[in-house]
């Protein structure tokens, strides 16, 4: 082997496997090349041992040495390989020198990138021109061969071949085919990008063909982006000029003239940019092109067409933009720095590792590749920090910086759209005519501009403006259409929704937010039905919807809330498509999990779910993950304590409540034992009210001018179902007490409880203050309670029952003891006989007043043997047996131990009680928050309670069980009362 090639092989040893192809060509043809040059006496005129300063001169010499066209091509190709290898080796050598000498790493990267781009562009352009001289068909008509991709990218060369459109193309196609074969063999493959996108059978596309394709809606806006970067490689400059003037010019902003295509192009770019920003980062690989460079390209191109800048060289474009828009200098500079880093990262990867876009970061092979890359980019191990880690951190920081800058710059582009875009002006001004029809027409027009025009934030803003005319105008317009036309319009929106799901769902959920059935709600439902039907035929739309769910779960959750069970089932079926991308597949799986929760849950639970997802959208991802929900809830609780803003403290505490509520409800849905829900709910209400009291006490203390009572003088007790740990009660029976008669103490306590009440109401809970109607306040003093019960009023037995069953959630044992000594003992225990007689009378009166319910319906609380009778019976027992424990009010077993003669009755009541509460929980979570149980709606509760394992209809068996047990409980109550 010639000495120059031996040195070349040694020099390029650090290069990655992509160099093998070029080395193979040198091995195969190198000696022939040397031989021919020696024979021509021109060996000394050609640079085999280093980069040629003027490649064209060397190529001319090489071409002249070939004896026939085929040999000439082989020699040209081989010489290209020699030069390409030298260039790449030299680029890395120079980078190493620059990094050693210059502390500013980014400056060295910029030089490396710029130099590599310039040299590669020059080399490949020169080579292509040389090859064309050999392969050009003599009958080939005029054409322009353009490079349309990023000039410095070596993995392939994106080209566009544009001809006049009216001649015989076969000769041009033949020419280009032979050129492509040579490039594939020796250089970088040509990617016949434009013809492929347009759908041309050969290599050529005419100007008119291209213009027609761009107006057909088949093409992505990326085609325009690529054409804007077109540079003439060879051929007719006039055709290139026509491309600029007749095709790409209309995507630039015109101060005067129609800017519709300019606007739609920007909408396409912004939509794409947002998609890139929302892309979940992969955990096991990096991809600088997809994760950062495409987004940077899109945004800089947007500004290019806004400002009318002609340069396509990205580095210069940045500088021009910064000069043109100094107010955007900071984000543009940030974007440029990110661009330099990512381009360098990508280029170095291509030179040293492989030319694939994905670079694995896990595994021993990846570790070695990354080590090589990090070293080449100037990273060294520093103490415990490995060079590779440092590099990857900088990589992700570059992505973050690009993302931050992109968000700012997108706002600028959006503002430009609002100020100058014809569609935007129409969409945001007062509606004229039938908005539903007009908007459909405009959206169809937009979709004919490009495939995937998705950015419609201005439209969404117009629809969501409070008191704005758009929603009503749309709903009225839609409702007023004849049925056929309405169906067609709904189909148009459904198609649009499959293409632009974020914008579509935003508007649809605004329409559906009018909860009371009316034109707006009906319009939303009809359009949603069409959308779901369309979705089932388009896996692509399912992927898009899954991505929207990933990043806007609150929006999708609002959409799900508007669907009836048939719609939810339809959506579940439609989303059952194979998805290869693991991140998108995971998003789809989570969407399906959310749909199932909607299918299984009652409106009561969905209300809480809606609240949670609006404040904390990410929660919807964790619905089936008990541990994560618990962690999030406890995190909110801890954060509520630390937050400096009182309002935010209360908000975070409310979040804690909602998320814990949801967690417990999800457990019930999964069929967990009701015991867990009861314990969970008990803890939840205690923690919530206790913490809420703290916040409200502190606030009231801050605002108080006079005396503030000690905290332990105030006690808050829950009565009723919550006291007895019945989960999913939608109201609180509250007894709020203050141990003081001083007016200022009472007033202070009142203020605290008033504040608490406001917050409790925000959770959708109604708090009833048991003593309020007697004392005229939320809070009663112990003296007032004692005085009240000392009287003869028979109607107070309900309050006595409540006090007897109360559970302390705020306050000390001290106030508990005082309540016991001053109220419970004298007016309940010591008066147990009359209390028992009064309660027994109550039970009797209720039984007589009870009207049997229709077949298949049972009132679980009020019917004989129901929860109320059980509560009242146990209250009698507690009064007689002097059992009062506000920390554990539901001590049925305790009652049986103290009154062993009646223990079997109490046990029986206890078992029925547990059954009724479990059924009640399951019913509230899956059907409705009501104590009226319908047999026809017991399927889901039956599943939760384990009735599916058995013969016969599960719901039917559960209902029979319910009736039987309540009858048994009624019998127990009768027996207890008869012996009372």
């Amino acid at each position: 082997m010639h000495a120059a090639f031996q040195r070349l092989f040694a020099r390029v040893r650090p290069l990655g496997n992509p160099a093998r192809k070029h080395l193979w060509a040198v091995e195969r043809w190198g000696e022939t090349l040397v031989g021919r040059l020696e024979a021509a006496g021109t060996l000394a005129d050609v640079h085999l041992d280093r980069t040629a300063p003027v490649p064209a001169e060397d190529f001319d010499v090489v071409a002249a040495a070939g004896r026939d066209p085929e040999e000439r091509l082989a020699l040209l190709g081989t010489f290209y390989c020699v030069q390409h290898l030298h260039q790449n080796a030299r680029a890395l050598e120079q980078l190493a020198i620059d990094l050693a000498e210059d502390p500013d790493r980014l400056r060295s990267y910029a030089s490396f990138r710029d130099r590599a781009e310039e040299q590669f562009s020059l080399l490949i352009t020169t080579y292509i021109r040389q090859v064309l001289r050999v392969v050009r068909h003599p009958d080939a008509g005029p054409f322009a061969l353009l490079s349309v991709g990023t000039r410095g990218h070596q993995d392939d060369v994106d080209i566009a071949v544009i001809d006049s459109g009216d001649g015989d193309r076969s000769a041009i196609d033949g020419t280009m085919a032979r050129l492509a074969a040579q490039c594939l063999r020796f250089a970088s493959p040509l990617d016949n990008y434009l013809a492929h996108e347009v759908g041309a059978p050969g290599f050529c596309v005419g100007i008119e063909e291209l213009a027609a394709a761009l107006r057909s809606g088949r093409l992505d806006c990326v085609v325009v982006t690529e054409l804007l970067r077109a540079e003439l490689l060879d051929g007719e400059p006039e055709i290139h000029r026509r491309l600029r003037d007749e095709v790409t010019a209309e995507y630039f902003f015109r101060q005067r003239g129609d800017n519709l295509r300019h606007e739609l192009y920007l909408r396409g770019l912004l939509g794409e940019t947002r998609s890139f920003l929302l892309r979940p980062p992969a955990r096991d690989r990096v991809n600088p092109k997809d994760e950062g460079l495409r987004l940077i390209l899109g945004l800089t191109t947007a500004f290019q067409v806004i400002e009318g800048l002609g340069t396509s060289a990205r580095g210069e474009l940045f500088d021009d933009l910064i000069a043109w828009r100094p107010e955007l200098a900071r984000p543009l500079a940030r974007l440029k720095r990110a661009w330099i880093f990512l381009e360098t990262f990508r280029l170095a990867t291509h030179l040293l590792i492989s030319q694939e876009e994905d670079l694995a970061v896990e595994g021993p092979e990846a570790e070695e590749s990354l080590r090589v890359l990090a070293g080449a980019l100037g990273y060294r191990d520093r103490g415990p920090v490995r060079a590779v880690s440092h590099l990857l951190v900088h990589y992700h920081e570059a992505l973050e910086a690009a993302g931050l800058a992109a968000n700012l710059l997108m706002t600028e582009v959006a503002r430009h759209l609002r100020d100058h875009g014809p569609f935007s002006r129409w969409a945001t001004s007062a509606p004229k005519g039938n908005l539903a029809v007009e908007l459909a027409r405009k959206l169809t027009e937009a979709s004919l501009a490009f495939r995937g025009v998705r950015f419609y934030d201005d439209l969404i803003e117009a629809f969501s403006a409070p008191g704005g005319p758009h929603l009503d105008a749309f709903a009225r317009g839609f409702a007023g259409l004849p049925e056929d036309e309405r169906r067609g319009i709904a189909a148009t929106y459904a198609d649009w929704g499959c293409d632009a799901p974020y914008a579509f769902l935003s508007i649809l959920t605004l329409l559906a937010a009018r909860r009371v059935a009316g034109p707006s709600f009906e319009a939303a439902r009809e359009i949603a039905d069409r959308f779901l039907a369309r979705l089932s035929r388009l896996p692509e739309a399912v992927r898009a919807l899954s991505r929207v769910f990933r990043y806007y779960p609150a929006l999708v959750n609002r959409f799900l809330l508007g669907l009836d069970p048939a719609g939810l089932e339809g959506l579940l079926a439609a989303t059952e498509v194979p998805i290869g991308d693991p991140e998108v597949a995971l998003a789809r799986d989570r969407l399906q999990a959310a749909i199932r929760v909607h299918l299984k849950s009652s409106p009561y639970i969905l209300r809480v779910l809606g609240r949670v997802t609006e404040r904390h959208p990410a929660t919807v991802d964790a619905l089936s993950d008990d541990a994560t929900l618990r962690t999030v809830a406890l995190g909110r609780l801890a954060a509520s304590e630390r937050h400096p803003s009182a309002e935010e403290q209360r908000g975070l505490l409310g979040d804690f409540y909602d998320i814990e509520f949801l967690r417990i409800a999800m457990g019930t849905l999964r069929g967990e034992p009701d015991r867990r829900a009861r314990e969970g709910f008990s803890d939840l209400t205690t923690n919530y009210l206790d913490r809420l009291f703290d916040f409200c006490f502190r606030e009231a203390d801050r605002d108080a001018r006079g005396r503030v009572p000690p905290r332990d003088r105030i006690g808050i007790f829950l009565a009723g179902g919550n006291a007895r740990r019945r989960p999913y009660d939608e109201d609180y029976d509250v007894v709020a007490l203050v141990d003081s008669d001083a007016p200022e103490d009472v007033l202070f306590a009142e203020r605290v409880v008033m504040r608490m009440n406001r917050q409790i109401a925000r959770r959708g809970i109604v708090a009833q203050y048991r003593l309020a109607e007697h004392v005229g306040r939320f809070v009663a003093t112990l003296d007032e309670v004692a005085a009240l019960l000392a009287g003869d009023r028979g109607d107070l037995f309900v309050d006595r029952c409540q006090l007897l069953g109360a559970r302390r959630v705020v306050g000390s044992h001290g106030i508990e003891d005082l309540l016991c000594r001053r109220v419970i003992e004298p007016f309940l225990f010591d008066d147990a006989a009359s209390f028992a007689e009064r309660v027994a009378r109550e039970i009797g009166e209720r039984r007589r007043a009870h009207r049997p319910m229709p077949d298949g319906l049972v009132h679980l609380k009020e019917a004989p043997g129901g929860l109320r009778e059980i509560d009242l019976s146990l209250a009698i027992a507690k009064a007689r047996l002097r059992i009062w424990d506000p920390s554990r009010p539901d001590r049925v077993a305790e009652i049986g131990r103290i009154d062993p003669a009646r223990a079997p009755l109490y046990e029986g009541l206890g078992e029925v009680y547990d059954f009724l509460v479990a059924l009640r929980s399951a019913y509230r979570v899956t059907v409705v928050a009501s104590d009226e149980i319908e047999r026809s709606r017991l399927d889901a509760p039956a599943r939760i309670l384990g009735y599916e394992n058995g013969t016969g209809d599960a719901a039917h068996r559960l209902f029979e069980d319910l009736e039987r047990r309540m009858a048994a409980a009624a019998a127990f109550v009768d027996e207890l009362l008869s012996g009372a």
Partner: protein, 184 residues
């Protein structure tokens, strides 16, 4: 008479089919001294959606670079199969991933089914080389490129340090192709 062989590799974006297409084209053009073209396209969402890579191999000129009469179709997903099978010529070869493709359309093709992704994961420890396994099978079945040429082209395309893994994946694919050919 010159031969022209059209291969379409199709599946979901991110399955390495563009790489596989480039390898086939380079194997034919660089190491076999044949002519080849390669082109690719993605679904509307560049990441995800049916994507394809077309390779045309010929010992003569390829003036018509668009693949329309496919001799061998690889489909790694149901969606890709449904979208592209209409271009497969009668008498052609259909290769599918049997885990991902449940419904096979009617047609006069030779059908080869294999769970490429599962095989790559279970036998080689990395699902990411499923494309190379499929490539090996295609090379052995089609004989459109020389087996050594394809191996050389693979080694020129994969990251340093992964040559052994990719070689094993390729040779596994060759063996599978041999079994499929013998099973006819």
């Amino acid at each position: 008479m010159s031969f022209r062989y059209e291969i379409r590799l199709s599946g979901e974006g991110g399955q390495g089919l563009v790489l596989a297409g480039k390898i086939l084209a380079e194997a034919a053009a660089i190491y076999d001294d044949h002519n080849a073209t390669q082109s690719q396209s993605y679904g509307p969402e560049a990441r995800g959606g049916a994507s394809k890579s077309d390779v045309i191999i010929s010992d003569g000129e390829i003036d018509y670079p668009k693949a329309e009469h496919i001799d061998l179709l690889l489909a790694l997903t149901q969606e890709a199969l449904d979208k592209y099978v209409s271009d497969l010529q009668p008498g052609g070869t259909l290769v599918v991933d049997s885990d991902a493709v449940e419904r096979l359309p009617e047609g006069k093709w030779r059908v080869v089914r294999h769970p490429f992704v599962r095989t790559a994961r279970e036998q080689l420890g990395k699902a990411v080389v499923a494309n190379i396994v499929a490539l090996g099978l295609i090379v052995r079945l089609s004989r459109a490129v020389n087996e050594d040429s394809a191996e050389q082209a693979i080694l020129a395309r994969v990251p340093k340090g992964t040559e052994d893994l990719n070689r094993r994946a390729y040779r596994l694919g060759l063996d599978l192709g041999g079994e499929a050919a013998a099973a006819r």
